[in-house]
Every structure is written in structure tokens, then in C-alpha cells.
């Protein structure tokens, strides 16, 4: 169907592809690809930011995996954080999206309400939640007190600190995921449901046999984005607990940051960054294989 024009260059796809893609590609190379590759190189050296660079080969990685107990702790924390945050967030946001998908009065209000945590800066979120979790004056302990549950020092307790951060992370991400689910839901054609109703399907059957399967690509995307985000989480930890208490909330991104900008260990930090990268990569690939729903 494509008409062949005389001026092949002017109308050639390749020409314009080159031109249109160039700015994007340049930025991509300079600020994404090259740094990625440099970072990789840096993971094989030891450098304290000011002095000379020293080649250590696999030394950083060996230290990470065999000698560094903080790394192990932090690695586990990251997995823990991700494994709890992501499923809960997805389930909750799906439920919310289902609820929102009906004709609701005041839907605009609800949308704004759910989106406010998403658009807030992490600093604002951290400050507010530090107050909520405050053992003496915080809202949470107050409410718990009203129903007779003893208040805890949420952010100071070695066992409760991570769940506390997880709650904040879920709180902040719900609106976003909900919106994406909504979009996915509204893309499912009415026809399927009508057909099912004709066959006498109840709401649960409709949900299970139509909604869930047709929502799969959306779910997959949300899952992947959520996992990637959770594995890299940094701001919440840094701002709310500084990795404490006793490293209970320190995650990979946080340990990376400390090594790079507090401990004078840039090379080591790069190694951690690459471990993080491969973690993200493997999760994504696993998801890809399992879903076999390639979103191209």
C-alpha cells in the first residue's frame, strides 16, 4: 500500500527513523548505556573517590557474597520487602479498581484521594508517617489504643520496623496500580460479560473466568513494574529509618548508597549495584517466561 515516491530519501523510513530517533538515542547512550557499562567496569575496582583506582578483579563480588554479612542481611531484607509489598499492593489495588469501575458518585474525589499519596514527595510521606508511627503521640497508637491494642514503637522495633515501612510503601503505590488496573478493566469488552450472563454465570464466575484472564497482560505489567520498583526502593528507608534499627530496614539500594557516599567505597558500591541489576533482570525474565505474555 505504500506508494513509492521519487524522492526516496525524503520519504524513506530509514532517514526519518534516524533523525527522529537521534536525540533520544544520544541521550540514551550517554546517560544510560555508557554509565551502565562504566558501572560494570567500576565493580571490578576499589576506589575511594579521591585517591587512585585499584584493580581488584572479582574481589568485590567475592567479598560481597562470602564475607559481607551486612550484604546478606540487606539482600534478604530486599527480598522480604518485595515479597510482601508487591502481592499485597496488587491484590488491594485490583479490588479497589473493581470497586471503582462501577458508576460511583464522586468518582473524581476518589481518584484524587487515591492519587494523592502517589504524587507526594517521599520527604512529605516520610515526615507524616514518622508522626503516625510515633510511639507517644502518633495516630496509629492512638487508634490502636481506642480498640484496646497496645501501641508499639513501630520504627524502633527490630521486628516491626520493616512491616511499618512496607505499609508506607503500599500506601504510596496503591493509587498508581489501581489506575492501571482500571485502565485494563475498561479495556475488556462488554461483550464477554454479556455472553456470560446469557449463559447464566454469576458474578464470581464472571470475575474468575473473564476478568482475571483478560486482565492478565495488565497484571503482568503492573507486577513487573512493582517488583522493579520494590527491589530498588531507597527513599522510604533512607528518610524514615536510615536503615535501622540494627539494619532491620536496610535494603540493597540503601547499602549501596552508604558504600558509595559514606564509606568511601565506590567500587564496592558498583558491585552492589550490579547485583541489584541482575536481581531485577532475573525476576523480570522469570516473569516473562511464566507469563509468556510478551507485551509487544
Amino acid at each position: 500500500m505504500r506508494r513509492i515516491n521519487f524522492n526516496r530519501i525524503l520519504y524513506s523510513d530509514t532517514t526519518w527513523a534516524f533523525i527522529l530517533l537521534l536525540p533520544n538515542f544520544l541521550g540514551f547512550m550517554i546517560f544510560l548505556m555508557v554509565p551502565m557499562v562504566v558501572s560494570f567496569g567500576m565493580s571490578f575496582v576499589s576506589w575511594d573517590l579521591f585517591g587512585p583506582v585499584r584493580w581488584v578483579g572479582l574481589g568485590n563480588y567475592i567479598e560481597l557474597f562470602f564475607e559481607d554479612q551486612v550484604f546478606r542481611r540487606v539482600f534478604w531484607n530486599t527480598l522480604y520487602f518485595t515479597a510482601v509489598t508487591v502481592p499485597i499492593s496488587i491484590v488491594l489495588s485490583l479490588l479497589l479498581a473493581l470497586a471503582m469501575d462501577q458508576k460511583i458518585i464522586g468518582i473524581r474525589f476518589f481518584r484524587v484521594a487515591y492519587f494523592m499519596p502517589v504524587i507526594s514527595s517521599m520527604i512529605a510521606v516520610a515526615i507524616v508517617w514518622q508522626w503516625i508511627y510515633n510511639p507517644e503521640f502518633g495516630l496509629l497508637n492512638y487508634i490502636l489504643g481506642l480498640i484496646g491494642i497496645e501501641g508499639q514503637s513501630w520504627l524502633s522495633d527490630v521486628f516491626l520496623a520493616m512491616p511499618a515501612i512496607i505499609v508506607v510503601a503500599i500506601w504510596q503505590g496503591l493509587g498508581f496500580n489501581m489506575l492501571l488496573f482500571l485502565a485494563g478493566l475498561q479495556g475488556i469488552s462488554e461483550i464477554y460479560y454479556e455472553a456470560a450472563e446469557v449463559d447464566g454465570a454469576g458474578w464470581f464466575q464472571k470475575f474468575w473466568n473473564i476478568t482475571i484472564p483478560l486482565l492478565a497482560p495488565t497484571t503482568f505489567f503492573i507486577l513487573v513494574m512493582a517488583v522493579i520498583g520494590a527491589l530498588q526502593a531507597f527513599d522510604a528507608v533512607y528518610l524514615m529509618t536510615a536503615g535501622g534499627p540494627a539494619r532491620a530496614t536496610s535494603v540493597l539500594a540503601h547499602y549501596l548508597f552508604q558504600n558509595a557516599f559514606q564509606y568511601f567505597r565506590m567500587g564496592y558500591a558498583s558491585a552492589i549495584a550490579y547485583v541489584l541489576f541482575f536481581l531485577v533482570l532475573s525476576f523480570t525474565l522469570i516473569q516473562l517466561r511464566r507469563q509468556r505474555a510478551w507485551f509487544l
Binding site: 506508494r3 523510513d13 551502565m36 494523592m116 504524587i119 517521599m122 496503591l174 464472571k206 531485577v280 507485551f295
Partner: protein, 303 residues
């Protein structure tokens, strides 16, 4: 109407999820997943949980310091101290930081929208060698954690002499793989019929992009803009690392700076926080309709 048929055709053929996001027909549903009252309850409870922290924020911003930590917690103090909002400037040059944030964010949004739409169009509609490999590479980089590129970017900025400048924040953010991906998926849903019609009328590929695809993509652009705006406005780590002097700093840093080591002026801090949230909320409210549309559908007729 051949356009409508084409639209329906696309819809049922589309197999990717994002194409569902931009499904061509708006469908109002009464899906009855759960009884309506339950839905209201659920939504209402959730909304309460979402909003309460913000209510407290506003309330505290109007209190005086000793009223902040009282038990049981109160929403408002004895009187509304609006002067707290004026006192923000004692802590840090609010206006300056605001302008800095705005400048950086707007530049980045414009740049990302432009480059992403151009690249998205290229990947969606133009054919050239290695196109799919390149796109796969782009996708892969979406998985790269920000920290992997942070340190080399830091070194790069230093060598370029761009430390403590806005350029250090803007340059790495001019381009985005995510935005490219988003635009591409959107462009995929625009029917080939339109493009062919344009070509028959003698359009270069650029013309197709500029005259047809771009105008049609308002919802997607709105979506991307809001996401990018949000991200850049609230960015904390990069400004912390790259900016050194008051003239250059951004709003998130300003908020962080209001916290003292031993004591913090909480009401003023909250006032600053409220003010810093306003632009993003406004942006969201304004773009809300476009934004929602952009995420869920696209009208064939653009406008």
C-alpha cells in the same frame, strides 16, 4: 464508517495490554463485580486511609509548636496560625527552590515528551534495520536500577564541570526508556488507515508524525507528562548528590533542610510540605481528565 470499523478491528486484534489501555471505545460498565454498597464502603475506607495523613499535615501546619505533640492527637490547634506559611522563608528560600524545581521539571517534561514521542513513533511505525533489537535494548534498560547509573553520572558531571548545576539533573533525564515505550504502545493502536491516507496525500514520515500522530496523542502525552512531572518534582536523591548551594536547590531538599538535628519546627515544616504538594495536585487535577482518558482510551478524533 470505515474508521469505526477499523477501530473495532484494532480493538479485537490487539493483544498487548497497553493497547487495551488505549482501547478505542469508551465503555461505561455496570459490571457488578461486587455489590455497590460494599464497593462504596471499601472505597470510602480506603480513601480515608489515603487522606488522613494529609489532613493531619494541613492541620499541623496551622498549629504552634507545642500543640503538635499532644496526646490524644488533635487535628487543629487552638487558633489557625497562617503565619507559619510565611515563616517558611525563614528556613529556606521557598520561592527560589520552587522556581528551581519548576524550571527543571518543565524542561525535563517537554524534552521527554518530544523525544519519547519521536522515538515512539519511530519504533511503532517506521521500518528499519535492527529496529526490534534496539527496542528490546530500550526495554531492558527500564529494568536498570537508578543507582547503577547514578555513580557514573556523578563522575561524568564532575568531568564536565557541571557539579552544582541544574544541567546535572536535567541532562540524564532528557530521555526516558519508559516514555518511549509508552508512546510506542500508544502509537501502535492508531490504525494504519490514517497513516496510509496521509501518505497518499504526499506526507513524509515526519509529516505523518507531526500532523497526524502527535495531535492524536494528547491523552498519552498528558499521561506521560503527569508521570514525568511527578517524578522530577519529587526527586530527592539526585538533587541531594548534585546540588550544593542554595541558589540551585530544589523543593524536596528545602523540605529536608527544615529538619534540625535536635529540634524541628514541625508546623513550618508541614506548611512547606503542603505548599510543595500543591503544584503536583494542581497538575494532576488539570490533567485528570486527559490523564484518565490517556490511560484508558483514546478518541479517534483527537480533541
Amino acid at each position: 464508517m470505515s474508521n469505526k470499523e477499523a477501530a473495532l478491528d484494532i480493538k479485537y486484534r490487539a493483544n498487548g495490554f497497553i493497547s487495551k489501555l488505549y482501547a478505542l471505545r469508551k465503555i461505561i460498565k455496570k459490571k457488578k463485580y461486587i455489590p455497590k454498597t460494599l464497593a462504596y464502603l471499601f472505597l470510602g475506607a480506603g480513601a480515608l486511609v489515603m487522606i488522613t495523613p494529609f489532613l493531619w499535615m494541613v492541620g499541623t501546619s496551622l498549629k504552634s509548636l507545642h500543640e503538635v505533640f499532644v496526646f490524644p492527637p488533635t487535628l487543629f490547634g487552638e487558633e489557625l496560625r497562617w503565619e507559619n506559611y510565611l515563616r517558611i522563608s525563614d528556613r529556606f528560600p521557598f520561592f527560589q527552590f520552587f522556581l528551581n524545581s519548576l524550571r527543571i521539571t518543565v524542561i525535563v517534561v517537554i524534552s521527554q515528551v518530544l523525544t519519547s514521542s519521536m522515538a515512539g513513533f519511530t519504533f511503532a511505525r517506521l521500518r528499519f534495520k535492527f529496529r526490534d533489537h534496539l527496542f528490546a535494548l530500550y526495554l531492558a534498560t527500564m529494568m536498570v536500577p537508578v543507582h547503577v547509573t547514578l555513580i557514573p553520572n556523578f563522575i561524568l558531571m564532575r568531568h564536565l564541570g557541571l557539579m552544582n548545576t541544574h544541567a546535572a539533573l536535567i541532562l540524564p533525564a532528557l530521555v526516558t526508556a519508559f516514555g518511549t515505550f509508552l508512546m510506542r504502545q500508544f502509537f501502535l493502536t492508531i490504525p494504519a488507515a490514517l497513516e496510509d491516507a496521509a501518505k497518499i496525500d504526499g506526507c513524509t514520515p515526519f509529516g505523518v508524525y507531526w500532523r497526524i500522530f502527535l495531535p492524536l496523542s494528547k491523552p498519552a502525552i498528558a499521561t506521560l507528562s503527569v508521570f514525568v512531572f511527578m517524578g522530577m518534582w519529587n526527586q530527592f536523591l539526585q538533587p541531594l548528590i548534585f546540588l550544593n548551594t542554595k541558589e540551585n536547590m530544589t523543593l524536596p531538599l528545602g523540605l529536608a533542610f527544615t529538619q534540625g538535628f535536635f529540634s524541628t519546627d514541625w508546623p513550618v515544616l508541614m506548611a512547606g510540605t503542603v505548599l510543595s504538594l500543591l503544584p503536583v495536585i494542581v497538575a494532576f487535577l488539570l490533567a485528570q481528565d486527559f490523564f484518565i482518558r490517556g490511560v484508558t482510551l483514546s478518541g479517534l478524533k483527537g480533541e
